[in-house]
């Protein structure tokens, strides 16, 4: 999971085919970073997934460039048409091109995923680092709060908080109104906060455990002996050594956030038009199960599936790449 010190200079002779060293060529010593890159790039599923996710992000955020039709363009005469050469994913009940709708909806889904991961990881990593490093009552307080958030029914709390936003634009005691964030408004913003608020606990635990081990390491004592302050030690010495755990967890949080958002929206507590996500499209098409129009359900579901799967595979690849003992080729 994390970067371990390697006691000897790491020598890698390369993959099959290139392992026959050229006569006289000295074996190269790789830095941790180079090794990490090699291991990650050789992880095939992760590489495929990385391309899939990059492609997904490109078509969604660049929807205004790549989408075959304009957003929300209705063609009532061609409503609920199954997939065809004009409409690759068919049209919805109002005759809008479903592919276009899905691409635009993907923006919000991805944004929520990335921002939630960013916020909750930053928050969780800092709390975990402080808890693990300082110990004592600070650790007690942070750990108990974390435990509390682990045992509460997160989905119910999220739903409760969000229903307030939907009803009167009120997020707790805070009037969200029409505040603009990125290109999304109110409820999406509230959703990001709520989901982030409910998904930082795991990273706290992971980072805390890691820090507990790290702070006993001699280089931390050496840094103290060099006069470094606690803040500096956490920032310069502890957190960079946790980068593996943090990155892997951040990736997985993206997946969790996307699924949670879809779940909340499907349950009717989340997004609503005009700003909607794949979750909303699934919610909107929930009645089509078993009918000829089930494609309305399957396409956004498929997109969600591909995205979450890609993110998970990337997380796997990162985890293996950060693991210095993992040498074997992986799928």
């Amino acid at each position: 999971m994390s970067i371990q010190p390697v006691s000897e200079t790491v020598l890698e002779l390369g993959t099959e085919g290139e392992h026959l060293l050229v006569e006289g060529a000295e074996p190269r010593a790789y830095t941790q970073r180079q090794l990490f890159r090699r291991r990650f790039f050789r992880h095939r599923m992760a590489m495929i997934s990385l391309f899939a996710l990059a492609f997904m992000a490109f078509v969604c955020y660049g929807a205004n460039l790549v989408a075959p039709y304009g957003r929300g363009e209705q063609d009532l005469l061609n409503a609920t048409q199954p997939p065809s050469s004009e409409h690759w994913m068919g049209t919805d009940r109002l005759g809008r091109d479903y592919l276009t709708e899905i691409l635009y909806a993907g923006r919000l889904t991805l944004t929520i995923g990335f921002l939630v991961a960013l916020i909750s990881t930053t928050m969780g990593a800092l709390m975990g680092a402080v808890a693990g490093y300082r110990g004592g009552w600070i650790d007690q307080v942070i750990s108990r709060i974390t435990d509390l958030f682990l045992i509460v029914p997160a989905l119910l709390i999220a739903a409760t908080l969000l229903s307030g936003v939907r009803r009167n634009g009120q997020f707790l005691w805070w009037d969200v109104g029409d505040r603009l964030v990125f290109f999304t408004v109110d409820i999406a913003f509230a959703m990001i906060l709520v989901i982030a608020f409910l998904s930082w606990q795991y990273i706290v635990r992971l980072v805390r455990a890691q820090v507990l081990a790290l702070k006993e390491r001699e280089f931390v004592e050496a840094a103290r002996a060099a006069g470094a302050s606690h803040t500096r030690i956490i920032r310069r010495h502890i957190l960079p050594n946790c980068i593996g755990v943090i990155t892997v967890n951040a990736t997985l949080t993206i997946a969790i956030a996307i699924v949670t958002e879809a779940t909340l929206t499907f349950l009717g507590f989340g997004l609503q038009p005009p700003n909607f996500s794949w979750g909303y499209l699934i919610y909107d098409a929930r009645g089509t199960v078993g009918s000829d129009n089930a494609y309305l359900l399957y396409f956004p579901g498929l997109m969600l599936f591909i995205t979450v799967l890609s993110v998970n595979f990337i997380g796997d690849g990162l985890r293996d790449a950060f693991d210095p003992h993992g040498k074997k080729e992986r799928w």
Binding site: I3, E8, E221, G227
Partner: protein, 386 residues
């Protein structure tokens, strides 16, 4: 980070204003005890010494004799659970009870430490160059260009080849000796007044040891720093130290100049240590090395009286002074203190002990010889009776 002008005057000027002979570090009756479930661990118990400017004091003792705890006490890095008493003064300023902020300012800038295991003491995920640079930036705001030049200079001083290339390497890409030199470069980055070297050569092979020691010596000449050299290697001490403090069970056994300690040891423990060294100048080839009998005592239950008495070849008889009174170091010659009740008459006691041992051996030999003779006679006198 730290603006020199913002510091209290006495901390900035202390080193230069004082006379040459004023001690850089003085430790007075230091006691460091750790309460544990098993009892009170007396890691350091009544230790006093001084280190003068540009002087190297070797701190020698077995594992667990309190050497490293002493160095941590000097840096103010002991864990909160430690019970500390006595006084540690650096340039006249007491270190114990100093605020964390003041201590941080001292650490790395005025007092620096070289750790034993450089691989463990260097952060594996940061480049060596950036770690040396950090040693500087912790204490001063230096602009990038100047910082880089300084890092190159430091790497050059400690003898790392091709610094412009190697500063970008990670610790695992360095050899053991280079890592230790990088550690030293970090320690001397701010030209400290006191360099604490905690077993700086223990993890290195002998040729590299010599190089690292040479680096320390060269730096000391250059910066006129004092060095507290913690080691259990008497060879290292002989080569580098001006004076030696021998510790046993957290207590001082003997302190004196290198010559006095090596050629006129006045403590049985020191004698034991010296006798256990392999010598190339005496014909000891093929002989077993001397070893001090027994085990180092538990620091929870230190023997009463002199802590060394259970292992001492010349201790008094049971109920004697060694079992009753804890010896405190007393002056033998002006620069030589020993904490042995019989420091002055040690030579005689060893001679007597040897004589006793010889007598005993002779007696034993006589006994066995007589026994063999008797058995022989019996055998010869034996007549089968069938």
């Amino acid at each position: 980070m730290t603006d020199l002008t913002a510091l209290p005057v006495e901390m900035v000027g202390a080193g230069t204003d004082d006379g040459e002979d004023a001690p850089v570090l003085s430790v007075d009756n230091l006691q460091v005890h750790f309460p544990t479930d098993g009892g009170l661990v007396k890691a350091v118990d009544g230790l006093s010494f001084t280190v003068r400017r540009n002087e190297t004091l070797g701190l020698v003792g077995e594992s667990g004799s309190g050497k490293s705890v002493t160095s941590l006490a000097v840096l103010g890095l002991l864990p909160k659970s430690a019970r500390i008493s006595g006084d540690v003064r650096f340039l006249g300023q007491s270190i114990l009870g100093q605020s964390e902020k003041r201590l941080r300012d001292l650490r790395g800038r005025r007092i620096a430490m070289v750790f034993q295991d450089a691989l463990a003491a260097l952060n594996p995920v940061l480049t060596v160059g950036s770690q040396i640079a950090e040693a500087i930036t912790v204490h001063a705001d230096v602009d990038k260009k100047e910082l880089r030049a300084r890092v190159f200079e430091l790497l050059d001083i400690v003898g790392i080849p091709d610094p412009t290339r190697r500063y970008r390497d990670y610790p695992h890409q360095y050899s053991g000796g280079m890592r230790q030199r990088a550690m030293i470069a970090m320690a001397i980055a701010n030209e400290p007044d006191l360099l604490i070297a905690d077993e700086p050569t223990t993890a290195l092979d002998v040729t590299i040891q010599a190089q690292v020691l040479e680096v320390i010596e060269r730096i000391q000449d250059r910066t006129r720093a004092s060095v507290l050299l913690i080691t259990h290697d008497l060879g290292v001490v002989a080569g580098l130290a001006d004076r030696v403090l021998v510790m046993y069970a957290g207590r001082p056994a003997e302190i004196g100049t290198v010559d006095e300690i090596f050629y006129d040891p006045r403590h049985p423990y020191t004698r034991g240590l010296l006798a256990s060294l392999p010598r190339s100048d005496r014909g000891t080839r093929g002989e077993r090395l001397y070893r001090i009998k027994g085990q180092p005592p538990s620091l929870i239950r230190v023997p009463p009286g002199c802590a060394f008495h259970p292992r001492c070849p010349v201790s008094s008889d049971f109920d004697g002074i060694c079992f009753r009174d804890r010896p405190s170091p007393r002056e033998i010659t002006p620069l030589h203190d020993s904490a042995c009740h019989f420091a002055e008459t040690l030579e005689d006691r060893y001679a007597a002990a040897e004589r006793d041992e010889r007598d005993e051996r002779d007696e034993r030999n006589d006994y066995y010889a007589a026994k063999r003779r008797r058995e022989n006679d019996e055998l010869e006198a034996y007549q089968p009776t069938d």
